[in-house]
């Protein structure tokens, strides 16, 4: 290959004359060396040297390039040179095939090994990529369901879900998961009950169960809020699409009423007026709570802002005082979350009073179905195929 191109292209065209096929035969060599111009004619006189190529001194260098042969050398030097070159010739005629073949074979082997290594590396990369994608998906799913990897986090105050007091929050997450399951079951029952047109009494029982089920949610939320109010406020325990509508740690009652009313028609005039009144009251109450919350944010910011620069003692005392002050203010946050849930509860109770039992059943079905669809949307969103970046 490349290695021998110089060899092949030597200025004296020796290799062309010395065919590789006939390299090993000494007689051929002799004959070939005889063919080489008149260069060696004078060597005939040198005698037996040429007749026996294998008597050549082995210590001669075996340079493949025959450009070393100097034609202009004095006669004295010629034999040695020629011996050297003849030795080179001999070596070239005998070695090239073996060496070339061996080198070629080694190259092939090296290339093959390299290809195998590359293949193995790529396979490794692929499996790692798949594993990474799986882990990411699992993480998303866990986050969406507000999952908690249990066990040995009792030491630290902050759990993997970012919540303080992980044990209580983990308990809440488990309870909430059960709550969602039960909610799904109740919604299903409502649907089949309405379609089957069961009696009012049976519907009544279902409606009562659904209502108290919502109350269960607010109860466990209240307990969790005492452990970590920020966790409840952030809605991390809900799915992403639900979080989009987050207000005061849950849904806005007036928005839910807006969704419900078209699904409940036909309503009596008094009912329509009552529902509109309820929605308006809810909006007013929600706004009042929102403004209170804004005030809390404002006072908290003011409490935390750096005070007047004094000596080191003053600064430290200020800092400690401000932190203590801020901590005290944070306690108020729990009250806001509780009031939000209280508003939701009141809205439910009032609707229950305004509507007939059938309308109430249908309303609860609509709500349960709506929440289910939001959760489903979140799952679809999390699992959507993404274009490679």
């Amino acid at each position: 290959m490349e290695l021998y191109s110089g060899y092949l292209e030597d200025p004296f065209n020796h290799m062309k004359l010395l065919c590789p096929n006939s390299m090993t035969s000494a007689s051929t060599q002799f004959a070939s060396s005889m063919r080489i111009g008149g260069m060696y004619d004078r060597d005939h006189q040198l005698g037996g040297m040429w007749n026996d190529p294998y008597q050549v001194d082995d210590s001669q260098t075996t340079s493949p390039s025959l450009g070393d042969v100097k034609l202009d050398n004095p006669l004295d030097d010629v034999p040695n040179e020629l011996q050297g070159s003849s030795k080179s010739y001999e070596h070239e005629t005998s070695k090239p095939p073996e060496k070339v073949l061996r080198r070629l074979a080694q190259n092939r082997e090296a290339a093959r090994k390299s290809r195998l290594r590359k293949k193995a590396y790529i396979q490794q990369l692929e499996t790692s990529r798949i594993k990474l994608a799986q882990l990411e998906q699992e993480l998303d799913r866990t986050r969406n369901q507000g999952g908690y990897i249990s066990g040995h986090l009792g030491e630290s105050n902050v759990g993997l879900n970012g919540a303080v007091n992980s044990a209580e929050i983990a308990a809440f997450e488990i309870q909430y998961a059960h709550w969602v399951d039960e909610q799904t079951r109740l919604t299903c029952e409502l649907r089949s009950a309405i379609q089957a047109q069961v009696s009012d009494i049976e519907l009544h029982m279902l409606v009562e169960s659904s209502m108290s089920h919502y109350e269960n949610l607010y109860r466990i939320k209240a307990i969790a809020a005492r452990s970590d109010v920020f966790y409840i406020m952030s809605g991390m325990w809900r799915t992403s699409a639900e979080r989009f509508f987050l207000w005061m740690g849950g849904f806005r009652p007036s928005e839910l009423l807006k969704i419900l009313v078209p699904q409940l028609e036909p309503l009596a005039e008094s009912q329509t007026a009552a529902v509109n009144g309820l929605r308006k009251s809810s909006q007013q109450a929600e706004d009042a709570l929102s403004q209170g919350m804004e005030k809390l944010q404002q006072t908290l910011s003011e409490t935390l802002t750096m005070g007047p620069l004094g000596g080191p003692d003053a600064i430290v005392n200020n800092y400690m005082g401000q932190m203590a002050n801020a901590l005290g203010k944070l306690e108020a946050l729990v009250n806001f979350v509780n009031q939000g849930d209280h508003l939701r509860q009141e809205a439910l109770q009032q609707m229950y009073k305004i509507l007939t039992i059938r309308q109430a059943a249908r309303g609860l079905l609509v709500l349960g179905d709506y929440f289910q669809r939001l959760r489903a949307l979140s799952s679809l969103w999390a699992a959507r195929p993404r274009e490679p970046s």
């Binding site: 987050l246 909006q283 403004q291 209280h342």
Partner: protein, 127 residues
């Protein structure tokens, strides 16, 4: 955090001369006296943000409530006077000299639609 969408399009913009922009009427002295003298009184801790919510709700309905601020030392004493027990869930609301309740009660009464009639009856609202 508590509101994903910044501005509700149903929130009323403050009009000139709106009650909510005027400062709350603060009173001190004997709480019982204050309650009797004023149609709507909100008794709450100083700087309490829930009191602020209560006030905002009442102001949104067209009422300018009197605010009686309680310091931490006075709390128990005032609570005892106000609802008979030493443990009151401030803020509490008085309408027409009568004890209505804490914020829970206020919200429930408002959601049921009974608050406006009560206010009108106490002479706090004219419409």
């Amino acid at each position: 955090m508590h509101q994903a969408i910044p501005c509700s399009n149903t929130r009323a913009w403050p009009r000139p001369g709106d009650i909510s922009s005027s400062p709350p009427v603060r009173q001190s002295g004997n709480v019982r006296q204050v309650v009797e003298d004023n149609p709507v009184v909100v008794v709450g801790r100083k700087g309490c943000c829930m009191s602020h919510s209560v006030r905002r709700l009442l102001q949104g309905l067209g009422v300018n409530p009197t605010v009686y601020e309680v310091s931490t030392e006075e709390e128990t004493a005032v609570a005892r006077e106000v609802c008979g027990t030493g443990d009151a869930a401030f803020p509490v609301v008085f309408i027409g000299g009568k004890f209505l309740g804490c914020i829970d009660r206020l919200m429930a009464v408002h959601m049921s639609g009974e608050l406006v009639p009560i206010l009108k009856e106490a002479g706090a609202l004219w419409l």
